[in-house]
């Protein structure tokens, strides 16, 4: 392959037709409160793991809802399940169960 001195930038387009919606359907069954999230980011602001790593629980939620699950397994391992996010959530989303459910879904589907 030739090197012209530049590369082709990878596409950042999210193709919903290609991403599987199945993990989200499972998650909605296992933790229905996922649907009442307003993406305010309070969880991320108060996150203990966020103090030491680049863990972003709001981003985890967004990626899951888009069906972009390829990087999630590594990402959710950063959560310490301290539950501080749950205490500040204005909508009362059960975030600890959310993380545990995502973990189970990814494990079960080998994603």
């Amino acid at each position: 392959m030739k090197d012209f001195g530049y590369t082709i930038n990878p596409d950042r387009q999210i193709n919903y037709d290609q991403n599987s919606k199945e993990p989200v359907y499972w998650l909605e069954t296992m933790e229905p409160s996922v649907n009442i999230c307003i993406s305010c980011g309070g969880c991320t602001a108060t996150c203990s793991a966020r103090q030491f790593t680049d863990f972003n629980i709001r981003k985890v939620h967004t990626l899951m809802m888009r069906g972009e699950t390829h990087s999630l397994k590594k990402e959710i391992k950063k959560c310490m399940l301290c539950g501080k996010c749950q205490t500040v959530c204005p909508r009362g989303v059960n975030l600890r169960n959310l993380i545990l459910s995502i973990h189970k879904i990814l494990e079960f589907n080998n994603l």
């Binding site: 082709i8 930038n9 596409d11």
Partner: protein, 360 residues
């Protein structure tokens, strides 16, 4: 569905194109990329349609490339454009036709600026008078050269020897039309069909027997974007835009791509080669690419001109598969012969793209 209502709405998406007596200004770059396109446009208008079209050797760049690359200030650009209008006025013409989409967009931008800020126009008139002693009238009609071909598409079709129909199967050839961004995305009222439904190239393809493909990234930019290409380190953005379009159109198996901008055919043509060399990917069947044509080249093919006189041999993606489908005869031996039979030399064959004529 009320067709009358739709027709009435469509009237708002039309533009007036002068019927005759044009002052023509060339593009800076098209003569290098697609050397015969502008010559063929003049030939079609003069010898096929018997129109009065005039060009002046003193006309210069509109400075669009410099303006959009942030190296030429708008004040300078306006004065340069005022000089082009002065040349038109001195020649006694009122209908201005531009070969380049960037120029067309910039002429539209300058005229709109003067429309909203007459004091700017007065200042530019003063600059031009002081610098060159020239005065000018604004054009009564501003059109892009593709508008003119669109206007006379029926006449060209009637005089044509070939049509966009597969000579073996009898089915219409499938074309992708790609409109230059500066044609109607900046000033929708200046383009046929506006920004949402540009019809200028669709009208040509449909009139000449072809079928237009509607694909997801149809209105995406080709990726030229001036600074995206002019700075080498940024070219990854440029080629990524073209790649996105190719991948979007590929499942529809287009027979050709038709463009009306200097940059678009250049990049849609050359980037197919670059992608093939960088990733080994081609977008046509059996290692072929998708041939890319300018509207003048397509009009020339329809009218039966020799493909090598249209400059099709300088395309990076070979056009022979399209010529075969249309049933247009060509001599592979004379592909790389220049004026008076001079041998131009044979280019190096690409690693992956199919090359014509075949290496013996």
């Amino acid at each position: 569905m009320k067709i009358e209502g739709k027709k009435r709405i469509w009237q708002d998406y039309q533009k007036e194109i002068a019927d005759d007596s044009y002052f023509y200004v060339r593009s800076c770059v098209r003569q290098n990329f697609f050397p015969a396109s502008e010559k063929i446009f003049l030939k079609i208008l003069k010898e096929e349609l018997f129109k009065d079209i005039y060009e002046n050797a003193s006309h210069t760049t509109c400075s669009g490339i410099g303006y959009h690359s942030d190296v030429v200030p708008f004040e300078t650009t306006m004065t340069i454009i005022a000089r082009q209008f002065a040349l038109m006025t001195e020649a006694g013409y009122e209908n201005f036709v531009s070969s380049c989409i960037t120029s067309f967009g910039l002429y539209s931008e300058v005229l709109e600026t003067w429309n909203h800020f007459p004091e700017v126009e007065d200042r530019i008139r003063e600059h031009l008078l002081k610098a060159t002693g020239r005065q000018f009238n604004k054009p009564k009609n501003l059109a892009h050269a593709s508008d003119v071909i669109y206007k006379f598409r029926k006449e060209i079709g009637e005089r044509g020897k070939f049509r966009l129909i597969n000579c073996k199967s009898g089915k219409p050839l499938k074309g992708v039309e790609h409109i230059g961004c500066h044609y109607s995305k900046m000033f929708p009222s200046k383009g046929i069909g506006g920004a949402e439904y540009p019809y200028v190239l669709v009208g040509m393809i449909e009139e000449w027997g072809g079928e237009v493909i509607d694909y997801p990234e149809r209105r995406h930019c080709c990726g030229f974007g001036f600074r995206q290409y002019l700075v080498k380190a940024n070219r990854g953005y440029s080629i990524a835009c073209s790649k996105k379009k190719f991948e979007s159109m590929e499942p529809y198996h287009p027979d050709f791509i038709l463009t009306n901008c200097p940059g678009c055919p250049m990049f849609l043509d050359r980037w197919q080669y670059a992608i093939s060399e960088m990733e080994g990917k081609t977008y046509g069947p059996d290692g072929q690419g998708i041939p890319v044509l300018t509207y003048e080249e397509l009009a020339g093919l329809i009218l039966g001109y020799n493909p090598w006189d249209l400059g099709l041999q300088v395309h990076q993606v070979p056009v022979e598969p399209l010529l075969d489908k249309m049933g247009i005869p060509y001599n592979p031996e004379t592909k790389f012969l220049g004026k008076n039979g001079e041998d131009l030399g044979r280019p190096e064959a690409p690693s992956f793209l199919h090359f014509y004529p075949e290496t013996k």
